[in-house]
Symmetry: C2
Subunit: 333 residues, 2 copies
Amino acid sequence: MTGWQNLAGSDALNLAFIQRADKLIAPYIVQTPVLTSPVLNEIAGAELHFKCENLQRTGAFKFRGAMHALLHLTAEERAHGVFTVSSGNHGAALAAAGRELGIAVRVAVPNNAPAVKKQNIARSGALITEIEPGMAAREAIVQQWREESGLPFIPPYDHPYIIAGQGTAALELLKVEPDLDVLLTPLGGGGLLSGSAMVAHSQGIAVYGVEPELASDGAASLQSGRIQPAMPPRSICDGLLTSLGEHTFAVIQERVNDILVVSEQEVVDAMRFIWQHLHLVVEPSSATVFAAVCKYRERFHGQRLGLILSGGNVAVDQLPWPVQRLKIEANER
Amino acid sequence: MTGWQNLAGSDALNLAFIQRADKLIAPYIVQTPVLTSPVLNEIAGAELHFKCENLQRTGAFKFRGAMHALLHLTAEERAHGVFTVSSGNHGAALAAAGRELGIAVRVAVPNNAPAVKKQNIARSGALITEIEPGMAAREAIVQQWREESGLPFIPPYDHPYIIAGQGTAALELLKVEPDLDVLLTPLGGGGLLSGSAMVAHSQGIAVYGVEPELASDGAASLQSGRIQPAMPPRSICDGLLTSLGEHTFAVIQERVNDILVVSEQEVVDAMRFIWQHLHLVVEPSSATVFAAVCKYRERFHGQRLGLILSGGNVAVDQLPWPVQRLKIEANER
């Protein structure tokens, strides 16, 4: 393995690199299913193929990138361990990948992260440190831990290893459904979108990222040509609250057709439809892609669309739609 | 094809017949994924492999048997259509299979069937007639329609074609995970359990059916040696309220190790765990198998278990656990 420090920047980020990542991580990941639903097709007026990364290990695509990054460590780096900062799915993914490979993992978690995501990180035996929310506190802890420990920081998205790992989901989807017209992924920091764009663009497939309006810094970045800061964390899409990174933004500028923006209510409606008709528990971030397909119906009408459902880590007793409590009968007669 | 009337009773019901069914229906069905969860393994103290028939077409394993039955019709029988009686998943499955093959389907539905299941039947264009709940009304309408129309009645479970079709789920599971110690399925009318038992028994795998205590006529039948009538429809497991049939009971007596019984609350807890950790929407009937594994922990400890999740047709705005409404922010600033 090349080690964490020895990668030649984003030069390494090409299709062959993602294909090698695919082979490297294959023994560790779930080849997640690609599902369809006649009901959702009818609602959207298009042919939808859902790549179900909510069924990935630790419930999100993040396991791909985290595992790929760790597999590149040298034996010495492995022995010392790694750290990261994550409000959820990346932290849990890195913790689980680390446990599997016998690598110690330390995670700084913003104290406003969803409880279910904190539990997922703790469950895999990572050492957790709570920090304040926001990019400033994130950067401070990275700086501090780097200086104190010298351990590799495995970032949640902005690194070629991570991007290549996330791109393997699109690669798998295209093995099953090669004839797509369009690929849509949620957009947060851009790891999933940029990895997917590398893959889809090489095969002439249009690529769209989708963001909630309350975290639409990605669309603003693309429009202004400069990375815009993350917006205040108001969106229900807790996986999409970070700003873009240098590596991800460069790929997105070059290979993504457009960034589509949806409302909070559109996300909630889409999420409920996916639960009801696809029989999958997905988190709000995942639902953005189906929301976009419904909102921009004319643009996608009659086309073959691939949608990456990014994750399913949501508390099933806290839902953004009204739920009537179904009474159960006592067993005692 | 042999036609509906020309089957030589349950003599036909052997492993080779199920293997032929598997080949026949393969072009029409979803090869549903087999999923695992480290969290659920830990809760159960065993290695669990979930066969996800909630991700089958029309959201339940029932599509297998219905499609298999229709594929055995003669051209003349196809032209005239078929009918059935079903409170849910079988009706929707037969309607969808009929639409795909161009066969008219008429379904009698008890008026207390869950709305979401009635909608699923209507969605596939079947002609629906509402009837009173209970076995008497079911038998009366079958008698009446038989006399009036002479059309084939495609029963929900008690027929070798149906049983063989349902058995293909276990066949697929064992292709992916051949080294199981035990296979568990929910038990209602016994189509899924008897088909699964034919398959698993032939490979030396122990087979258990699982019932809710409020619909435990199957356990009572096995104990008394005679088919016991269905209990009043009080259980939350709306797919498991029917009594056994002659064909299914014969197979179950011969090849099922035991029938396990769980409480309503155990079903609800199991269902919530599956939603939370497997990221799947399953209906209460499906959750019985995981409930049994948790309840009879010592019996299954450390073993490799196959569990068939039978379906996912449940209204996601009516749940049997308390759900807090998550507020969303307005997009307008």
